[in-house]
Every structure is written in structure tokens, then in C-alpha cells.
């Protein structure tokens, strides 16, 4: 069996469990998966490992990519084209169109996606909500206002952390929910300077500022999963986090809709923000490995693999044609919302997780948002820093 080395960042139990689905499939196709996991630092460790290996002339056969990572390597001409496979299998049609820009350029594909996470979720403890008399909010103002009621019964309204990325999750939800998907595209994807410096932006920061009063003192350096647990335990009312948080509730045997609530961040204009993982192959002068790389792509695009994979990982299949019957309610909602959003052109990549702009820009957002939240910076200053930062990174 040819060994196919895969470099990835998946190290938690659910991630590894999901990956096993893929590797098992590969085995049946005659390839052995040789695992190289490098976790941590939001993927930077893996990126660094990858770069050194490319520099040493020793790249892995396949590499997990998030967001823009693969595109850069594709531009360098380091990745193997999967055009033949795409053409043969008609994968283009099976995938949400917004994904394609991350899988290749100008109809030239180098990677295949295996899943999709939704970023803009609110996770709430139903018992707490009931006790405080809080209903699912329909707007951010309402959500913030419900904080007082939650405080009144002695729970932390929003479980969160002072880590910049967690705050940014909140920020980007407000950004798109309050200003609409079009504005989100202009500001967070096109980086239009007028949008970035617009009053809408200031308003977004102001709203974010109002959340400041809704967390507890222990939010310093808190792990997102610890925050989720606060909600699950009823110490906090809700958390704004991607759907990876769901596993924490399920692990406790809590049922969606019964014990906990999952609903999209409140907005007048429904939208869907995504995060997904892909795998691409490096050009290696070895026919066996090339075959293996193809096999990886085919395994990933196998609907059955996608289903089993995402049942474990908590996300939904990248493919649009996978039956969702076995999934939980939150996943089902994610799936149906996606269909809706695609129709409405309201589906965009998550800013925090690297699917909106290239990392050097998204980093600026994170810097400014993170700093804004923990200091007494004014919204106007924040916007100014944001614009300067983006311009400096251009």
C-alpha cells in the first residue's frame, strides 16, 4: 500500500474521529494514510511546518487548507491540479458556488472540501432562558437588552473570553447582522475603504462595546469550550460561537431545542457565514503518490464519507446533495439555512476564521476588535485604527 502523508491541524477527539472516516475509506482504495498532525496557534504551527518542509524539498503529499492558505501555494505553482477529477465527476455542481473560489482559480482546482461549519450561531441554555423569561432575540438590541434579565437571575448573560478571535466572532456577527450581507461584503471582503470608515462601522463597534458589560470577570484567557460549558451548566445564558460548540452540549447528553438552543445570531436579513476544510496535494515527482492524491480527493468527495465525517465533526457536508436525516436539529437547520442563503446571496466566509480576506487583513480586524473590547477605546478610534491597519497591510 502506498503511503500518503497528510499534514493537518486536527488534534481533538472529534476531529481525529472524523478524519478516521476518511482514512478508512482510503484504505479500501489501497492507500495508507500517514498521519502528520501539527496542532495549535490557529494553524500557524502547521503552516510553519509546511513551509519548512517545502523549503527542504520534502512537502507532504496532501495538506489541509483553511481559507486562503491553499490559494497562496497554488499561485506559487506548488499544488497539483485536480481539474481532471473535477471535470470527470462534475464536482463543481455538487458544491456551494461560494466555496469554489477557495478551491481554485479560474476553473483550475487544486483541493476538495470535506465539510462546512457555520460560524454565526448563538448557543443558549434553555432552562436559563426560561427562568429569566428571555425569548430568542430577534435583533442585537434585544439580545443585549436580555442581558439585564439574565443578570437579574444571577447568571452571566454572555459566556465569552477576552481572546481576540472569540471577540471577533461576535464582532463579525454584529457586522453582518446589523448592516446586512452586502455591507459585510464591501467592508470585510472587498475591504472598501469607504465602507470600512463608514458610520455603519462605527455603529458596529458601538454595539460591540455594549456587550462589554455582559460577561463575567473570569473571561480572561478562557477557552471557548470552557465558555460553552458555562452555558451548558447554566452559569451563563448564551454564547456566540461557531457550530463546533455544539459538541459540548451533545457530550453532556443535552438535546437541541430541549436543553439548549441553537439559533443564528439575530438579524433582519438572514445570512450564513461559513468555515470549511479542504485538502490539496503538492506536486511530488512520484506517480504512486499522485494516484494517492487523487484517491484522497475522491474519498473526500464521496457523499457517504462526507456524511459520516460530519456526523462526527459536528459540521455539515460540503456537498449539497447529502441526505441530512441522521443529523441533529442544529445541523439540519444549518443545512437548510445554507440552501436559503445561497439562494439569497447571503452566504459569506467568516472573517475570523480566514474565509473573508487574506490573513494579513483579517489579522488587522482581530487586532483592532480585540483591543477595542478590552480597553476604553472609542468606536471612532477603532475605525480609524482599522482603516490605517488595513491600508498598511495592503
Amino acid at each position: 500500500q502506498t503511503k500518503i502523508e497528510g499534514l493537518h491541524v486536527w488534534t481533538s477527539a472529534s476531529e481525529v474521529g472524523a478524519l478516521k472516516v476518511l482514512t478508512d475509506k482510503l484504505k479500501t482504495m489501497g492507500f495508507e494514510w500517514q498521519d502528520s498532525a501539527v496542532g495549535g496557534a490557529n494553524g500557524a504551527n502547521a503552516q510553519q511546518a509546511l513551509r519548512t518542509r517545502v523549503a527542504a524539498g520534502n512537502p507532504p503529499a496532501v495538506m489541509q487548507f483553511l481559507g486562503f492558505e491553499g490559494l497562496g501555494w497554488a499561485k506559487e505553482g506548488a499544488l497539483r491540479s485536480l481539474n481532471d477529477l473535477y471535470a470527470k465527476n462534475g464536482w463543481k455542481a455538487d458544491l456551494p458556488p461560494v466555496m469554489l473560489q477557495f478551491l481554485g482559480q479560474d476553473d483550475s482546482f487544486f483541493s476538495t472540501p470535506i465539510n462546512m461549519h457555520r460560524q454565526n450561531w448563538v448557543w443558549a441554555n434553555k432552562a436559563v432562558f426560561d427562568k429569566a423569561g428571555v425569548a430568542v432575540p430577534t435583533s442585537w438590541d434585544e439580545l443585549i437588552a436580555s442581558g439585564e434579565k439574565l443578570k437579574a437571575i444571577g447568571v452571566t448573560p454572555i459566556a465569552m473570553s477576552d481572546e481576540s478571535w472569540q471577540i471577533e466572532e461576535l464582532f463579525e456577527s454584529i457586522l453582518i447582522d446589523v448592516n446586512g450581507p452586502d455591507f459585510y461584503k464591501k467592508a470585510a471582503i472587498d475591504l472598501d475603504e469607504s465602507a470600512l470608515s463608514s458610520p455603519e462601522m462605527i455603529k458596529t463597534f458601538e454595539l460591540l462595546g455594549k456587550v462589554r458589560g455582559l460577561h463575567d470577570a473570569g473571561f480572561t484567557g478562557r477557552d471557548w469550550a470552557a465558555a460553552t460549558n458555562l452555558v451548558a451548566n447554566g452559569q451563563a445564558g448564551m454564547q456566540i460561537m461557531g457550530d463546533w460548540a455544539k459538541g459540548e452540549f451533545l457530550a453532556k447528553g443535552m438535546k437541541p431545542g430541549v436543553d439548549f438552543l441553537c439559533f443564528p445570531t439575530p438579524t433582519a436579513t438572514p445570512n450564513y457565514k461559513f468555515v470549511f476544510d479542504t485538502f490539496g496535494g503538492f506536486k511530488i515527482d512520484n506517480a504512486d503518490i499522485a494516484k494517492g492524491q487523487d484517491a484522497v480527493a475522491e474519498a473526500i468527495m464521496d457523499p457517504e464519507v462526507q456524511k459520516k465525517f460530519n456526523l462526527i465533526k459536528g459540521s455539515i457536508p460540503a456537498r449539497l446533495d447529502v441526505a441530512m436525516d441522521d443529523f441533529d436539529d442544529c445541523a439540519k437547520r444549518s443545512f437548510s439555512d445554507r440552501v436559503e442563503a445561497i439562494k439569497n446571496n447571503a452566504i459569506y466566509g467568516s472573517l475570523t476564521d480566514g474565509f473573508a480576506v487574506e490573513p494579513r487583513f483579517s489579522g488587522v480586524f482581530q487586532d483592532v476588535v480585540g483591543k477595542f473590547f478590552v480597553t476604553d477605546m472609542s468606536a471612532e478610534d477603532a475605525v480609524k485604527f482599522l482603516v490605517d491597519g488595513i491600508n498598511n497591510a495592503r
Binding site: 495549535g40 496557534a41 490557529n42 494553524g43 500557524a44 504551527n45 503552516q47 510553519q48 513551509r51 517545502v54 523549503a55 486562503f68 497562496g72 501555494w73 506559487e76 477576552d162 481572546e163 481576540s164 463575567d216 470577570a217 473570569g218 473571561f219 480572561t220 484567557g221 487574506e358 490573513p359 494579513r360 489579522g363 487586532d367 480585540g370 483591543k371 477595542f372 473590547f373 478590552v374 480597553t375 485604527f385 490605517d388 491597519g389 498598511n392 497591510a393
Partner: protein, 298 residues
């Protein structure tokens, strides 16, 4: 009647140089050549992979226009000053105390050293909890009845860096102690006896006799701690992850994220060059003053 020096003697004469040569060679390549490489990259437009073009000082301009970099530089100075001062002082104190014929010296030494052994990705978590006002020290003290006690530096952008200092001191003091202890063990006891006879108390003896003799050990410690300060990376990531709000950013974390997370290899290289220049500006004069002095017989 001078005779030609035989080859074996000439080799013997060159032996010291020959011995140093491989180290020098390796360092010339692995340090200085690579610094040149980094310097070159800092002048290029490199993003994901190295590019060998030339864009002048653009990356440096970009670097210095980044507020986070300013924070990083400021933090480096604050951190280094406190860290070096505290660690050296505490390490010396520990070494001196341990040198007083202590019964459980071995155990204590291991206790002071163990923080170095533990990977900071994990000990950082422990510290994070200890320093967290809702979980750690503050809570314990509050629970004990002193309810007005506040220790929430880690949550305060202006104070969080001091938490990093605390953890870093905790981690590195043991090693400073080890170096000082080795130095102390090398000192001839008779000098200390002489000072005792002259009526000097222990503190005085250490201050005026022993510490000056430990000067080379200080050089070791200072170089080493500077290295740790500059390198402090795991520490920041695990303890504060540069937060809250990038307030504990350090040049090393900045460089790493620029190079590997934000695809700004040129900026990363520029920051590396800035770090090296800063180090050179501070350390080179120090090294010069330490090394130029003619050594005494012993």
C-alpha cells in the same frame, strides 16, 4: 642554533584554532549567513514563500506603521528589564541560600528547577488559572475573607505583561540559580574565611567578595536570560496568547504570526532584523566591556 619547527609542532600550535574552527564555521553559516538571508528577505516583497526581489525598506515602513509592533517593542523592554532583574536577583539569592550547607538542598534545587522542565504550553494554563481573578489567587484570598483584595493584572491590558513576567521569572529562576550555584561551588572557600575573620557578615561577604568573583557567571546568566526574554514565545502564547487585546505582544510572537499566520514574511523578516539590531546595540557593548578587560591571574 635555531631549528625549523617540525610539522607536528606547527599543528600543535594551531590546534586551539583548529578546535574552534568548526564551531566558528558552523556559526558563520547557521547564524550569520542566515541573518544575511533574513536581511535580504526583509528587503523583499516575500509573503508566503521567500521571494528574492527588492522593494527597499518598504517592509520596515510597514512594520513601524503597525501599532502592535510598537506594543511588542515596548513590552520587550519592560519585560526584559523586569525579568532580567528579578530572575538574576532571585536566582542569586536562591543559590546563596542553597549554598549554606542546607540539608534538603537536592530537593529544593529540584523544586526550583522543575518549572524549566515542564512545557509551557501546559504550565501556561496553570498560571492562567492561578492569575485569573475569578479562579485563582484573588478568589482564594477573597474566599478567605479579604473580599476587597484585587489581583486581576492578567485582565488588564496595561498590567498583563507583568503577569508574563511573574510566570517567566518562575520558569527561569531555577536555571539562573543553577549557574550561580556552579559558580559558587567553584570559589575557593579560604577567601570567604578571610573575609569572615575581618569581621564581615555573610551579606557583606557575598556582596563584596563573592558576587564580584561570580562576574563570569553573571555574564552567563544575563546572556541566557536575554535569550529567553527575546525568545519568550510559548510563554506568551500559552499564558495570554498576546492578549488581552494584543497588549502582551512581543517581538517573537509578532514575528511568528507575521511570518506564518499572516503571510507577511517580509514584515516578519524586518521585525527579526530589528530585534537583532536592538540586541546588538545592547549586548555588544556589554560583551565588549566584559571581554576586553585583561584577566587577572585568577
Amino acid at each position: 642554533m635555531s631549528r625549523p619547527i617540525p610539522l607536528s609542532d606547527r599543528i600543535a600550535n594551531w590546534l586551539p584554532r583548529l578546535v574552534l574552527a568548526p564551531s566558528l564555521l558552523v556559526v558563520l553559516v547557521a547564524v550569520y549567513l542566515f541573518i544575511c538571508w533574513t536581511g535580504w528577505i526583509s528587503l523583499s516583497s516575500s509573503m508566503i514563500v521567500p521571494k528574492y526581489d527588492f522593494v527597499g525598506l518598504n517592509q520596515y515602513v510597514r512594520l513601524w506603521s503597525t501599532p502592535r509592533w510598537h506594543t511588542a517593542v515596548f513590552n520587550l523592554f519592560v519585560f526584559s528589564a523586569l525579568f532580567l532583574g528579578l530572575t538574576t536577583g532571585l536566582g542569586l539569592l536562591m543559590a546563596i541560600l542553597l549554598d549554606q550547607k542546607i540539608r534538603v538542598e537536592g530537593t529544593l534545587r529540584a523544586i526550583f528547577l522543575y518549572p524549566m522542565a515542564l512545557s509551557f504550553i501546559v504550565t501556561g494554563t496553570a498560571w492562567k488559572w492561578i492569575l485569573n481573578p475569578a479562579l485563582g489567587v484573588q478568589k482564594v484570598v477573597n474566599d478567605l475573607g479579604w473580599t476587597s483584595f484585587v489581583f486581576d493584572w492578567i485582565a488588564q491590558p496595561t498590567f498583563a505583561i507583568y503577569c508574563v513576567v511573574i510566570a517567566a521569572v518562575w520558569q527561569s529562576t531555577g536555571f539562573a540559580m543553577a549557574i550561580f550555584l556552579a559558580g559558587l561551588r567553584g570559589i575557593d572557600n579560604s577567601v570567604i574565611k578571610a573575609a569572615q575573620i575581618e569581621g564581615a557578615g555573610l551579606p557583606r561577604i557575598y556582596r563584596t567578595i563573592v558576587v564580584p568573583v561570580l562576574r563570569p557567571a553573571f555574564l552567563s546568566v544575563i546572556v541566557l536570560l536575554s535569550y529567553i526574554a527575546i525568545k519568550s514565545f510559548d510563554l506568551i502564547l500559552a499564558l495570554t496568547n498576546t492578549g488581552p487585546g494584543s497588549s502582551t505582544e512581543m517581538p517573537s510572537t509578532f514575528m511568528y504570526s507575521a511570518t506564518f499566520r499572516r503571510d507577511q514574511m517580509g514584515v516578519g523578516a524586518a521585525s527579526a532584523m530589528m530585534m537583532l539590531m536592538t540586541v546588538a546595540a545592547i549586548i555588544v557593548p556589554y560583551l565588549y566591556s566584559e571581554l576586553k578587560e585583561p584577566r587577572d591571574g585568577h
